[in-house]
């Protein structure tokens, strides 16, 4: 059985990182803190006996998603906007709503009798691969179709419609300030 101390350290760091993700004033900082949270999650997967998932998490999230997000931030930010508020004005109701949801879920979790951890070894990647190609093969193929559709969709959405200086708006004229 894994010890408790690494779990608690990881949990505390995860909470800290999540707070920084939703509270950072600078979007780049928020993205980088999300990267920290995702790496810590990969470590949590390792502790929970899922080494294959930890690898997937590191490759896809920290390798792919964070890079994409950083590109997104850089592409959609103008210099004079760097100090602009990225929060809406309704922070207090939002905090109350999420705290209320947490209290509801926490009371349900505390009152439920949950079993202790069963002893179990880490699941090797070969087992997961076998499950993908036998029991879950249809879902696996549908997933690859979905990834293809997402890729084509992103290309169609992101391409420019003319090659002049000013991109043509897709759906009518926007209000340019």
């Amino acid at each position: 059985m894994t010890g408790s101390l690494p779990f608690f350290v990881l949990g505390a760091l995860l909470l800290l990182g999540a707070v920084r993700v939703v509270a950072s004033r600078d979007l780049v900082h928020a993205v980088l803190w999300l990267g920290v949270v995702l790496v810590l999650t990969a470590l949590m997967f390792l502790l929970l006996g899922a080494p294959f998932l930890a690898g997937i998490q590191l490759l896809l999230y920290t390798g792919g998603v964070i890079t994409l997000m950083l590109f997104g931030v850089m592409l959609t930010r103008r210099h004079h906007e760097i100090g602009v508020d990225i929060d809406s004005s309704r922070r207090l109701p939002a905090a109350l709503a999420s705290a209320g949801l947490f209290v509801a879920m926490a009371s349900a979790i505390v009152r439920t009798k949950l079993p202790a951890w069963p002893p179990s070894a880490p699941i090797p990647a070969i087992e997961i691969g076998r499950a993908f190609l036998t029991d879950h093969v249809v879902a696996f193929e549908v997933l690859s179709l979905l990834l293809l559709a997402a890729m084509i969709g992103a290309i169609v959405l992101g391409r420019r419609h003319d090659f002049g200086d000013e991109p043509e708006p897709l759906y009518g004229k926007g209000h340019r300030s």
Binding site: L48, F52, L53, L60, M105
Partner: protein, 99 residues
């Protein structure tokens, strides 16, 4: 760490994601908050997979991660389209359908 403590941790992460979704107005910050929530759910899946034994929970978690990547790709394409159109990505600026 008990199962309960882990579930409390993931619900705290999930609620922080909800706070982010409600309190932010920048579209990329909204995507980040959604990532946080999905991450919490994935940890929950792995937790219950470990409780139940077997491999199915982890297969589900792999599906979740792949779906999230697809979501981020399309979401960022939409954000960049919004930026090209409006020159800003505050979600409350896209209000053409509100009349």
């Amino acid at each position: 760490m008990t199962v309960q403590a882990l579930l409390l941790l993931t619900s705290a992460l999930f609620c922080m994601g909800i706070y982010g979704l409600l309190a932010r107005r920048n579209a990329i910050a909204l995507l980040l908050s959604a990532e946080l929530m999905i991450n919490a759910v994935t940890i929950n899946l792995v937790t219950f997979s470990r409780l139940a034994g077997g491999v199915t929970g982890q297969v589900f978690a792999v599906f979740t991660i792949a779906l999230t990547v697809a979501e981020v790709v399309v979401g960022l394409a939409i954000v960049i389209l919004l930026f090209r159109w409006r020159r800003e990505i505050a979600v409350d600026s896209a209000n053409e359908l509100r009349h």
